[in-house]
């Protein structure tokens, strides 16, 4: 589903976040990316979602060469990818359900159908009682669950999560990880960047360690 072939990413200023990465992730896999901060985890995720472009090498997702995708084609790639951010990136000028419905609005789905699906996903992450609330009134854990709901509402085959439990205490973190396990079980491909070792041992799955722009498999 995802493959990296000799991918190098150098930022302006000379910092090399990734150097000559080779990597294949199959459909339905659950992959953890670990490594100290600045090791290139975020960069790797951004390359998959075409938020950044590689300096050299080829990144492909579902057979599409993402690194050479045109500006116009990028939105359609992203509609098939759910993104979960450490800082949630919620919109505070609208309530919970409007946040979740946004990807479906963008995709041009019928409004009533969109609301129905949004409500189902909100229910799944346990926020149905708060659907009219403003996200700013939610706790950190609830905000992260909302972010996940928004990432999942368009039923993407691939979910990318960058430090999804980074700001959360242990209880909330376990909650979120349990949710990811459920999605993995229904066949979603997940790539999760984290430094939370507890989560990894709890869920199993494949673990990749990034260190100074190099990648290596970690034996289970």
């Amino acid at each position: 589903m995802i493959s990296f072939n000799q991918v190098t990413k150098r930022y302006p200023g000379g910092h090399e976040a990734l150097s000559g990465i080779n990597l294949t992730i199959d459909a339905g896999e659950l992959v953890f990316l670990i490594g100290h901060s600045g090791a290139g985890k975020s960069t790797l995720l951004k390359l998959i979602a075409a938020i950044e472009r590689p300096t050299s090498g080829v990144v492909s997702v579902s057979g599409q060469n993402v690194s050479r995708l045109s500006h116009r084609a990028i939105p359609y790639l992203r509609r098939n990818i759910g993104l979960v951010f450490q800082d949630h990136k919620l919109l505070f000028d609208r309530n919970v359900i409007e946040n979740v419905v946004l990807p479906l609005d963008i995709a041009g789905l019928d409004r009533r159908e969109a609301l129905k699906r949004a409500r189902a996903v909100i229910d799944k992450v346990g926020l149905l009682k708060r659907e009219k609330a403003n996200p700013i009134s939610l706790s950190g854990g609830e905000q992260q669950r909302l972010c996940i709901a928004r990432a999942l509402v368009s039923r993407p085959a691939l979910l990318l999560a960058d430090e999804p439990t980074g700001n959360l205490d242990a209880g909330y973190a376990a909650d979120i990880m349990a949710m990811f396990r459920d999605f993995h079980q229904v066949g979603t491909t997940l790539v999760i960047a984290t430094h939370d070792d507890r989560a990894i041992t709890a869920l199993g799955g494949r673990t990749l360690r990034l260190d100074h722009g190099k990648i290596q498999e970690v034996a289970a």
Partner: protein, 302 residues
């Protein structure tokens, strides 16, 4: 197609929502636009009234048609028949005796005419053509000059020329002003939209991350600009209506003193539609320029 319509409806709703959310800013922008537009529109209306007033004035351009001294009765009849055609509004026959009598009646010339032993003046027609444009007048004069029995024609076109030149100057001025204020309109709209884009930076950023096309992002702003322009056009209508209400009484009084029933007329439906359409268009254009530029900046800043 259905998805496209859905997007349009969604964008329009969002734009209306944003306008309602900021009533004061919306009102101020509409007023700024309204005042800017009311200037050229008001001038245009004023010019129209001047043109109408000029049409009502008695001093119409006239053509004097002088007949040959030896003109035959048949020729005279043919000329009279020609002057009954629809391109002639009015034709008055001035026999030479009457012309001489008129001339003698004026004090300055009485001495000269008293010394004449015979009448040197020809019979003449004073003709007022239907058209008043310079070209049309010249054409009619030329035409009449070719009739058998006509010695010469004299076109008193100076007055018409001057009026035409003045109106033409006014019209050019209106278009020039309209062009300038259209630019102002684009600038006002662009500025208002730029502020909106800045406020919505986060939304734009997030929408892009979850697969929004530039078109999707741009659309509500374009509707916003167009609606703002429409409101500006309506505000201009309001400004002009108030100005018209204030000016009506003094204008009618002034006209009354000249014995004229002249009064201010409201603009026609087509004129109103044209102004509203143009302001909407220029509001849209300003929004397009502004949001496209802002999107490029957001892109570059990422």
């Amino acid at each position: 197609m259905i998805g496209w319509l859905r997007h349009q409806k969604h964008a329009l709703t969002a734009a209306l929502h944003r306008l309602r959310a900021q009533p004061v800013a919306t009102l101020l922008t509409a007023l700024a636009m309204g005042v800017a537009i009311s200037l050229p529109s008001g001038l245009y209306l004023g010019l129209g009234h001047l043109g109408r007033l000029a049409g009502e004035l008695p001093a119409q351009p006239e053509i004097s048609v002088y007949l040959d001294a030896g003109v035959s009765a048949v020729q005279k009849q043919a000329i009279a028949a020609r002057l009954k055609q629809p391109d002639i509004a009015l034709a008055r026959y001035v026999p030479k005796d009457e012309a001489l009598a008129t001339l003698s009646a004026s004090q300055d010339l009485a001495d000269i005419t008293a010394g004449l032993t015979q009448n040197p003046l020809p019979d003449a027609w004073v003709v007022r053509p239907q058209a008043s444009s310079r070209e049309a007048l010249a054409r009619v004069a030329d035409d009449l000059g070719k009739l058998p029995g006509v010695a010469e024609t004299h076109l008193d076109s100076q007055w018409a020329d001057r009026l035409q030149a003045a109106l033409g100057f006014g019209r050019t001025g209106v278009w020039l002003l309209a062009g300038l204020f259209a630019i102002a309109l684009v600038a006002i709209s662009g500025n208002a939209i730029r502020a909106q884009v800045l406020v919505r930076r986060d939304e734009i950023h997030v929408s892009r991350l979850i697969g929004a096309t530039d078109r999707y992002i741009r659309r509500p702003f374009l509707y916003l600009g167009a609606l703002q322009g429409l409101l500006g056009g309506l505000a201009a209508g309001g400004v002009l209506a108030v100005a018209g209400a204030i000016l009506r009484t003094p204008v009618e009084r002034l006209a009354g003193l000249y014995g004229s029933a002249f009064h201010l007329l409201p603009p026609t439906g087509i004129e109103i539609a044209a102004v509203l359409g143009l302001t909407t268009l220029f509001g849209w254009l300003g929004a397009w320029l502004s949001v496209t530029r802002a999107l490029q900046q957001v892109e570059a800043a990422r």
